[in-house]
């Protein structure tokens, strides 16, 4: 019951994306925003929706420890399920947890061959096969296009979709398409781009790429108190 309701609420479709998973197999998506606006919160909510649909999510963090990433999931899930019965929501949490795997690397220690080695360890032993991968903390101005091309190959090889967080800087004014200069050299590799933009007290979720042309802009917001996605009223 609770699961059904939460799944039905998957709000990103409101941005004008048609596919249920938003990204095609082997595709790339990114959430762009300044530091502290809610990139991780948004991706974790997308991950939670995938987990509730029994689609395994691999969360790769290059910044935070496993325990901290776990807290993101725990908090957001419990906020999402706050209005439901606690016994039922705890049960659901236990059920969906098996669809999540957290991997953390130090930024300097992260490489695609290393990630593939870890993935093979998991897949060969039938421990975990991700449907969606989240990579949080990759530095796009430093990581060359080469790394992304390798990741794209990996995504195709293992039939995964990869979401990235992209940290944009306040001192760097966006180009006409809304993208920061430091991201332009890789933007063509992405199927979907979503931006979080703070306007006053509100944080708007805007589709920059991949949405249908008639999609409504400013349809979605991040609630600044809970970081949960909500619809514009």
């Amino acid at each position: 019951m609770i699961k059904k309701e939460i799944i039905q609420r998957n709000p990103l479709l409101n941005l004008g994306y048609n596919d249920e998973y938003i990204l095609p197999t082997g595709g790339f998506g990114a959430v762009l925003a300044y530091a502290g606006v809610g990139k991780t919160a948004l991706l974790v909510q997308m991950a939670l929706h995938a987990m509730m649909n029994e689609q395994p999510v691999l969360h790769v963090s290059l910044n935070d420890a496993v325990s901290k990433v776990d807290v993101w999931y725990r908090e957001l899930f419990h906020d999402m399920a706050a209005k439901y019965d606690s016994v039922e929501s705890n049960e659901l949490w236990e059920k969906i947890l098996i669809y999540r795997f957290i991997m953390t690397f130090r930024v300097e220690g992260f490489s695609v061959p290393k990630l593939e080695e870890r993935l093979t360890d998991l897949m060969q032993q039938n421990i975990f096969k991700p449907h969606t991968v989240i990579i949080d903390g990759l530095k796009f101005d430093e990581s060359g296009r080469g790394l992304l091309l390798q990741l794209q190959e990996l995504a195709k090889k293992y039939s995964m979709r990869i979401w990235f967080t992209v940290h944009t800087h306040r001192h760097e004014p966006p180009k006409e398409n809304g993208l920061p200069l430091s991201f332009l050299h890789v933007a063509d590799l992405f199927d979907v781009l979503v931006q979080l933009a703070a306007k006053g007290p509100e944080v708007y979720i805007k589709a920059l790429k991949g949405q249908s042309p008639d999609a409504k802009q400013d349809a979605l917001l991040l609630d600044p108190a809970t970081m949960l996605i909500k619809q514009q009223t």
Partner: protein
């Protein structure tokens, strides 16, 4: 007895298993002249370290029970509690942190911040204990104290700053450079007792200057005088620098880091200096008691020896002269011959002998004043009790005691052992709140319960050694629980007419699952269908039913009972009748409420070289483990998982053989979770067989 609070330090020594805490304590005792010879933890002389006073601790090379001691260093009195490193004994760590004012966090220069260091650090945070770090084992191959400092920052979030740099590392370790005085320190003599101070070697001067800059920079945030001295390019005196670092340390906003090798007798004395310079005196620490007369309103205590007594009993030991009660005095003075009151039961007791402890030896004193840690003789109490002056009704905040998750049946070999065993069990359960014992009414076996395999193992060994109680043990049993998953109604009538006055009681209502309590009883009867005087009997009957599930006989938790109707009889109704009716009603509803079995799930953290990451994950997976994640740490990786306790027996041997002995793990209770259907069926079968055997 001196009453100079200024010069008292109550410290704990906490760390990961095998980081060398006990060796460090031994060196501290030696340099403060409390002992005259050093005995190592697993030393060839077979004596064992002084702080590991139990034979078993000496043999296994691990600390089991905290030992309290005090020593003097340059006019300061330092009370030290040596705490166990193994997570099964975590209650000892928690208890000591509760009574201490500050701590030394010992880290291995090779292993760095390990899983247990994280647990200990969380405990320190919970009790707001300021600490300094000591990076030990700098003589080991692969030692890298600056990597450990970086880990302190990234993994534990400490603002760690080096107070020293090493002179040489690994086998070349010669001493340390003190970044405050900018002098090199060497440790001569057979046991490093002669500190030789010299100029910094030329080769290290540049590094020392750079690290001192970092130290000054970090400390300047806490002192305007220091910032001023920096801006005006005045000389930065050691006093100025220590004062700034001390301020930050007390606020837990800076962690000063010392380094050396306790085993090789290098740089323990500067650490002691650090304890006296940087850690708080008792009156600088805020301690809170709860006022029982004022709705448990928190009251900040005043560390004044003249005020009424407030002291906490944090550890009990049964010594050769009777029960020894370790206490920490927070306020007032506990004097020989004075009267104190145990807040828990209101009993007045007269203080007999008052002693200061030095591992298993003691020293008689006249009084213990606020800020001191010592022990009392002949006081009957439990661990965690608060003692106060007559007329005061305050209690120290209660300590969190986790519930046991594993049990073991023990059978004495003969009558003599039977007597000795009950004596031992009585003592152990009084000393350790996480150790429980009871007799199974069906099998008549004595069951001991605790926090892990090792925890129970140690107690069985102690029974043999200290009490000559020869016992055989059964297989460890996991503490399963039952709970319900859906609401079920009941409407049950208990009626008995067998001559004489009969029994009658009817109860109606429902049971439903709840997640945040073990048992809730709600009375929604209006109009007196069950007279008020029988409501308590109804509750008692339901509570009795919770002790054992009707089918699998595990304790039941997470049930709310609501009664909303019933009936009584003017003559035949009684407390007994309504208790029986409640039991019947529970039985009636329970099976319809879809009961399930829950099992204890442990948080298992494995640290392994990366090349074994795959096999380790495989091992955890085979044990029904759910891997939460893996953390890459360069050559090592940390795998965090949740594994049912039932699958963890013998895991250490399997892990060792799968990783050539290079991986280690820690395990602690995380939660209860429903067992999968196939396992539940197996458990049901086993329970049925046990029942048959018992019959």
């Amino acid at each position: 007895m001196k009453f100079d609070d200024q010069k008292i330090r109550n410290i704990g020594i906490s760390a990961h298993i095998d980081s060398g805490k006990t060796t460090l304590s031994e060196r501290i005792l030696f340099y403060t002249k409390r002992i005259h010879a050093i005995h190592d933890v697993k030393g060839k002389d077979g004596v064992g370290a002084t702080m590991d006073s139990m034979d078993l601790e000496k043999e296994r090379g691990i600390t089991i029970a905290s030992a309290a001691t005090y020593c003097e260093w340059k006019g300061y009195e330092i009370n030290i509690i040596d705490t166990p490193g193994h997570v099964d004994f975590t209650i000892e760590v928690e208890r000591s942190l509760r009574v201490l004012d500050s701590a030394i966090l010992v880290l291995c220069s090779v292993g760095g911040v390990q899983s247990q260091s994280i647990t200990v650090d969380q405990q320190m945070k919970r009790y707001k204990v300021p600490c300094i770090a000591f990076i030990n084992k700098c003589d080991r191959s692969g030692a890298n104290p600056f990597r450990v400092i970086a880990q302190l920052r990234t993994k534990l979030g400490h603002n760690a700053v080096a107070m020293q740099i090493p002179i040489g590392l690994e086998t070349e370790l010669q001493g340390v450079v003190d970044l405050v005085t900018m002098k090199a320190m060497y440790f001569d003599g057979d046991s490093g007792e002669d500190v030789r101070i010299e100029a910094i070697p030329q080769s290290l001067l540049e590094e020392a200057n750079a690290k001192r800059e970092e130290l000054i920079d970090a400390a300047s945030i806490f002192s305007d005088e220091l910032t001023e001295a920096i801006l005006e390019e005045k000389e930065i005196t050691p006093e100025l620098l220590y004062a700034a670092v001390r301020k930050g340390t007390l606020k837990r906003e800076i962690t000063p880091v010392y380094m050396g090798s306790a085993y090789k007798n290098k740089a323990v004395q500067p650490l002691l200096d650090g304890v006296t310079y940087l850690l708080p005196k008792p009156s600088e620490v805020e301690n809170i008691a709860l006022d029982m007369n004022n709705n448990e309103e928190p009251v900040i205590l005043n560390s004044d020896p003249e005020k009424p007594i407030i002291a906490l009993a944090f550890k009990l030991e049964d010594g050769q002269y009777g029960q020894l009660t370790y206490i920490r005095v927070y306020q007032g003075t506990v004097e020989k011959g004075s009267t104190i009151v145990n807040v828990r039961n209101g009993k007045k007791v007269k203080v007999g002998r008052v002693v200061r402890m030095h591992a298993d030896q003691m020293e008689d004193v006249e009084a213990l004043c606020s800020g001191y840690i010592g022990a009392l003789f002949g006081i009957e109490c439990s661990s965690g009790d608060t003692f106060v002056s007559p007329g005061i009704n305050m209690t120290m905040t209660s300590m969190f005691v986790p519930k046991p998750v594993i049990s073991l049946a023990i059978v004495p070999k003969d009558n003599k052992s039977q007597m000795a065993m009950s004596k031992a069990l009585n003592r152990f359960s009084k000393e350790d709140p996480t150790f429980k014992t009871h007799v199974d009414p069906e099998t008549n076996e004595t069951i001991i319960e605790g926090m892990g395999e090792l925890h129970l193992d140690i107690y069985v060994e102690r029974m043999k050694r200290e009490y000559n109680a020869e016992v055989t043990t059964g297989n460890p049993r996991v503490a399963y629980r039952e709970t319900i998953t859906q609401r079920a109604d009941f409407n049950y009538t208990h009626r008995k007419q067998t001559g004489g006055s009969g029994q009658f009681g009817r109860i109606a209502g429902y049971i439903e699952p709840i997640s945040d309590a073990e048992f809730v009883f709600e009375n929604k009867i209006f109009g007196g269908s069950i007279p008020t005087q029988y409501i308590a009997a109804c509750e008692k009957g339901f509570k009795q039913s919770m002790a054992k599930g009707p089918k699998l006989e595990f304790p039941i938790t997470g049930v709310k009972v609501l009664i909303n109707d019933g009936a009584s009889h003017a003559v035949d109704s009684s407390d007994m009748a309504f208790q029986a009716a409640a039991r019947g009603a529970f039985r009636e509803a329970y099976l319809r409420a879809k009961p399930v079995v829950h099992e204890p799930i442990m948080k298992v953290v494995v640290e392994s070289p990366v090349e074994f990451q795959g096999p380790v994950m495989g091992l955890l997976n085979q044990r029904r483990g759910m891997i939460i994640g893996s953390q890459d740490e360069g050559v090592m990786c940390v795998i965090e998982s949740q594994v049912p306790l039932a699958e963890m027996f013998g895991f250490s041997t399997i892990l060792r053989s799968a990783t050539q002995g290079k991986a280690q793990f820690t395990m602690e209770f995380a939660m209860y979770r429903q067992v999968p259907q196939s396992i539940a069926e197996k458990i049901a079968l086993e329970a049925a067989q046990n029942k048959k055997t018992a019959a």
